[in-house]
Amino acid sequence: MQNVVFPNKILPYFLVAPQIVLTVIFFFWPASQALYQSAMREDPFGLRSTFVGFANFSAIFSDPSYLHSLQVTVVFSVLTAALAMGTALLLATAADLVVRGRGFYRTFMIVPYAVAPAVAGMLWLFMFNPAMGTFAYMLRRNGIMWDPLLDGNQAMLLVVVAAAWKQISYNFLFFVAGLQAIPKSLLEAAAIDGARGSRRFWTIIFPLLAPTTFFLLVVNTVYAFFDTFGIIHAVTGGGPAKATETLVYKVYNDGFVNLNLGSSAAQSVVLMVIVIGLTAFQFRFVEKKVHYG
């Protein structure tokens, strides 16, 4: 990186000001509020709050429903990220083979990304609603007891698929770009070296896609942790019996529905720490295996 020296002393601060303002208003301020709240306890009527130190934290970590939520989040995130990335990669490699109508195909693949999370959730809910869903009807006719309103695993499956479906477009775009960035001569060299099909994919293409895959891994993890609230809210509402209550959903539920602000704030602080830690871990350990061109 090159150091640029501005002759004007004030101008550089003006240039970075919008970003600073945004970060302060939308991250540092709420984060500090959450930190403050996490050390307070509200009285039942919301009239007074008292300082309780780490009591909220020790309370949530000894709460079995919180630990269950943590487990749900891990399952949900791993499945969503894996499904979204795997499917996107499959589609991107397939798109690479399409010759005719390539542009149309690619544009079409991006459409789901334009759908709002809650709407995406509703779409899937309609399709798989046990009372009126077309697919639910078909499943039942084929002897599968389909009822995500009763069966926690089925509910999880439904939200995972809906969440992954929405993220596939995004991943697809990046994978397509990543595939195009692989020099053609490398694939030709591989063809001469006798590598074809899946062998060529796993030994040449996939390693060369690693920077893209790594980037998407970080993005998808954060997505699964935070941005899937709308889908879960619309499809299952965290149920049945908290089977799909992820950490972020529990933050909402405890804070805005049950109005236990202290606990909710403590949870959101924990969530923040988890995501920061996870991202740091990915950069520290996974990135080492990534080859940047």
Partner: protein
């Protein structure tokens, strides 16, 4: 070891654009053939067709005794050295060399042995555990060569392998490629647009022009007896002077009748190095009077740019530094043996 034969090979793009317009060529076992020509002449396309990276629209390509038209690149028993090396960036040098052998299920000891041999021959032993990005251009070039050598293919194909190197390294690698090719005696097809590379590397040169073979021959044959004005100007540097015969005979220059000036002669070609400044002993087959336009000193010799009375321009070489001044009028001469004559279509006469 195997020869390569091309039988009326054609390449048509998009139904009507003919990139290769019927090329027939027999490459002997162990021979080094250089395909040379200006950009867009189809030399790379032809090489890629031999490699199997481009389909063959019609005709046949035979490697050894097999028609390879329908075979995958990996089944053709060839190795290609790419212009940009195309080393796998995520693999070490050793893995790069081993990759093609592993895919062919070569036993591990055999792979190790071949890599050791190739690394020694190319002097890249100390870089085997490095990644390509940690190597210089010349070292990458050697690895790319190594990847071809370890395979022990029936033929090496080179696609302008030296064009990404600086001038000094290019000369060095050129010598090395020649030495390696000689010692391995592997049939090789080498594509370049650099006529110097072509002249020094080739057993036989193939000059391509617009998708057709213009001339095939040893470098010296092409230099001494170019079949067309295209080859005449392509081989040799600076390129051959081509003098158009104008309506008015003898305006500034003349050819003796013994030089065989028939009516059909349209163009007279003389290489800059074959022209001498006329004195009483000078040959009289070609004589001209020129006005000097410019003098270029390139070190051991100088090139004089001059114009003849009829508007033709000419370049000739004089040894060492010269006292010739711009604007000066001088007499030049050339011997019959060095005079090339071409007809209206640019084809060689006699």
């Amino acid at each position: 070891m195997a020869g390569i034969e091309l039988k009326d090979v054609r390449k048509v793009y998009g139904g009507n654009i003919e990139a290769i317009k019927g090329v027939s060529l027999k490459i002997e076992d162990g021979e080094m053939i250089v395909l040379v020509g200006p950009s867009g002449c189809g030399k790379s396309t032809l090489l890629r067709m031999i490699a199997g990276l481009e389909s063959i629209s019609s005709g046949e390509i035979v490697i050894g005794d097999r028609v390879v038209n329908k075979l995958e690149p990996s089944q053709r028993d060839i190795a290609l050295v790419f212009q940009n090396y195309a080393l796998y960036p995520h693999m070490t040098v050793r893995q790069n060399l081993a990759y093609g052998l592993k895919n062919r299920n070569t036993p591990k000891e055999e792979i190790d042995r071949r890599i050791t041999d190739a690394a020694r021959a190319l002097e890249i032993e100390q870089y085997l555990e490095r990644k390509p990005r940690q190597l210089s251009g010349g070292q990458r070039q050697r690895v790319a060569m190594g990847r071809a050598i370890v395979r022990k293919p029936a033929a090496f194909l080179f696609d302008e392998p030296l064009s990404n190197l600086d001038a000094k390294l290019r000369v060095q690698m050129r010598v090395e490629i020649r030495r390696l090719q000689r010692s391995l005696a592997t049939t090789s097809v080498y594509v370049t647009h650099d006529q110097m590379e072509a002249m020094t590397l080739a057993d036989r040169l193939v000059v391509l022009n617009g998708g057709r073979i213009e001339q095939v021959g040893t470098p010296i044959e092409l230099y001494e007896r170019p079949v067309s004005t295209f080859v005449a100007t392509f081989i040799g540097s600076p390129s051959m002077n081509l003098l158009k015969r104008k309506a008015v005979e003898g305006s500034g220059w003349s050819l003796s009748t013994s030089a065989g000036v028939a009516g059909s002669v349209e163009t007279v070609g003389i290489r800059p190095e074959d022209i001498v400044i006329a004195d009483e002993n000078a040959p009289s087959d070609f004589r001209g009077q020129v006005t000097v336009d410019a003098v270029e000193l390139v070190g051991a010799e100088s090139y004089v740019h001059a114009s003849l009375g009829d508007g033709n321009t000419i370049v000739f070489r004089v040894p060492g530094r010269t006292q010739i001044a711009i604007g000066e009028t001088i007499q030049i001469a050339a011997a019959q043996a060095n005079i090339h004559t071409f007809d209206q279509a640019g084809k060689r006469l006699a």
